[in-house]
């Protein structure tokens, strides 16, 4: 007990130090970045672009709920189905509130290469006027679209700690993680003046313009690698590898995967921030990558184990969507198809052979799919990108190495930094959370399931005949029968 606490204290101290160094260091890089320009002329708002971006925002929210909620909760055991859904659902709520208060500002206000400022805190100035980020749509549309990305990213991590994390710990960790890992990384990649931002970098010298169209690093590497850390720090589920932990309903996982696929059109297609050739190109790349990856995983599995599983096909599709995410706006349809196929096969081996060889318990393969898939995607973007498909890329030197460019290097740098940030950040935050409220439920709670122990509910009450007792509720008042005077007529069959 004491030793644990001491250990934790020491860890904490280390963390604080590291944090200060990072924060301090960041100011060294800081160029005086001009504030984000907001155009008070709403005439420039384009209704078509706005329509598409609002639709995309809705689609991206649908990816978390019900998409991810279903995909993940189908894979857990019956006793944890609601708790797993709740993780997705409550992130829709809590991340959005944090985003409104301060998250968006950290990510998208101009600032140093690592953090944004606080001009947009409490949604100040985030109204109907278009901004520099997307000059044809209201700034509030841009903000809410980005909000949906912030919602899903910590949601992806849930796959790693499913079936054993305390609900309170999960809430705390997710909020911290959003502020410490996600928002800074989003700032680096997409924020004005961010370290990797290729489009809006006011002349910084220490910069690595990286291509990340819709969040290969920001969303998938960050969450996938953090998921690995979660799996390692939290340890395995009790009985893992000894008792079977078969998915309680692949049926609902299939629904979830299909909705993820559909929603991803908003995720990638919407990242064009307008409705035109760019969105269309990203949409197509997304679709073909998912298709090829589903086949890739399925056929790899069919060859290796003799049976093509449904869970394999849907996992493959998701892997393909992950892989294409950073590339979607920069590659042509056939490149997307190839990237998807590669991603499907590699993630198959990551989520099966690799995981079992190393023996960590990433319950739902958040690392195998998002961590590995995101990494592959970021690197392959440096192979397949073509300026042709995205005129906003300033220089054809940023083409992938297969198309005469030399972008692979910068992609690797961005990838490594994302890994490091995710590893260090998640480790520290898990330790903090552990100290504050403990990470894991007790053995008996894990045995009884999170649904009943964390939430006091069960997912399915299909055997209604076994009764029970109403302890409280519904019996005290009598309005229901009294007020109407004469009883309502009841027809007899």
């Amino acid at each position: 007990m004491l030793r644990n606490l001491l250990a934790s204290r020491r860890t904490l101290l280390g963390c604080l130090l590291l944090g200060m160094i990072l924060w301090g260091g960041s100011s060294a890089f800081a160029d005086p970045t001009a504030p984000v320009a907001i155009d008070s002329n709403t005439d420039k708002v384009n209704s078509g672009d706005t329509a598409w971006m609002l639709t995309s925002a809705a689609l991206v929210l649908m990816m978390t709920g019900p998409g991810l909620a279903l995909f993940y909760s189908g894979l857990v055991r019956r006793k944890n189905v609601l708790a797993t859904m709740m993780q997705s659902f409550i992130l829709m709520a809590i991340v959005s509130v944090v985003w409104a208060i301060v998250g968006f500002s950290i990510a998208f206000d101009a600032g140093n290469p690592f953090f944004g400022g606080l001009h947009f805190a409490f949604m100040k100035n985030v109204w109907m006027f278009p901004s520099e980020y997307a000059p044809t749509i209201p700034f509030s549309t841009f903000m809410v679209y980005q909000c949906m990305f912030a919602v899903i990213t910590p949601g992806l991590i849930c796959g790693a700690y499913a079936e054993r994390m305390k609900f309170s710990a999960m809430l705390l960790f997710s909020v911290l993680w959003l502020l410490v890992v996600y928002c800074p990384l989003a700032h680096m990649v997409w924020g004005k003046g961010g370290l990797f931002n290729f489009a809006m970098q006011p002349g910084g010298s220490l910069k690595f313009p990286a291509l990340d169209f819709a969040g290969g690093t920001v969303v998938h590497i960050s969450s996938g690698v953090s998921a690995l850390i979660c799996a390692l720090v939290m340890g395995k589920r009790r009985g893992y590898g000894k008792i079977p932990m078969a998915p309680h309903s692949v049926v609902i996982s299939v629904i979830g995967a299909a909705l993820l696929w559909v929603g991803w059109f908003g995720f990638n297609g919407g990242s064009a921030l307008s409705a035109g050739g760019g969105a269309s190109s990203a949409f197509v790349a997304t679709h073909f990558a998912a298709a090829a990856a589903a086949l890739g995983w399925m056929f790899a599995e069919w060859l290796k184990t003799g049976k093509p599983t449904v869970l394999g096909a849907i996992s493959g599709a998701v892997a393909g969507l992950v892989v294409i995410t950073p590339a979607s706006g920069f590659v042509g349809p056939m490149s997307a198809l190839i990237m998807g196929a590669v991603g499907g096969v590699v993630c198959f081996f990551a989520a099966t052979s690799l995981k079992h060889a190393l023996g960590y318990d990433d319950s739902l393969d958040a690392f195998g799919v998002h961590g590995i898939g995101g990494t592959i995607g970021a690197l392959l973007t440096g192979c397949f990108a073509q300026q042709f498909f995205n005129p906003s890329v300033p220089d054809s030197a940023m083409n992938g190495i297969f198309f005469g460019g030399k972008q692979l290097g910068n992609q690797a740098v961005a990838t490594v930094i994302s890994w490091v940030l995710a590893i260090v950040g998640s480790f520290i935050l898990l330790k903090i959370t552990d100290v504050v409220c403990g990470l894991r439920v007790s053995e008996s709670e894990e045995f009884d399931g999170l649904d009943i122990t964390q939430h006091g509910e069960r997912g399915y009450n299909l055997e209604e005949e076994f009764g029970g007792t109403v302890l409280d509720g519904g019996s005290s008042g009598s309005l229901g029968s009294a007020i109407t005077g004469t009883q309502t007529k009841v027809s007899h069959a």
């Binding site: 079977p244 078969a246 599995e301 184990t305 869970l311 989520a351 099966t352 079992h356």
Partner: protein, 112 residues
């Protein structure tokens, strides 16, 4: 009276019921169950984790009959439920001390 308990393959339920009906036995209570025995369960794979289900779904039938009808009933069930493959199941016969029909309170043979 005796209670016949037959553990059978689920898809033989209809055949067994038909056979019993021919003997005039219409009352049966059936329970879903899982059998462990010589017959093996199948194998499933989820993301590379291979698992053996261990059990085989079976149906447990409970049929209460007059003692003198018991032998005939057992042999009819054996007939109807047999496929000849491992896992066809077992029949257990129990002595019964008393039977009551709840609706009427009738006892024993009248209660069947």
């Amino acid at each position: 009276m005796q209670m016949i308990e037959a553990v059978i393959k689920p898809h033989k339920l209809d055949a067994v019921k038909t056979a019993l009906a021919k003997l005039g036995i219409l009352g049966v209570t059936a329970v879903e169950c899982k059998g462990f025995g010589r017959q093996m369960g199948h194998t499933e794979r989820y993301r590379g984790a291979k698992m053996d289900v261990g059990f085989v779904p079976k149906v447990l039938l409970k049929i209460c009959v007059k003692s003198e009808e018991s032998a005939k009933a057992v042999s009819e069930i054996v007939e109807a439920a047999r496929t000849g493959e491992v896992g066809d199941g077992k029949i257990f016969v129990y002595p019964i001390a008393e039977v009551v029909r709840i609706r009427t309170g009738e006892k024993n043979e009248q209660a069947l």
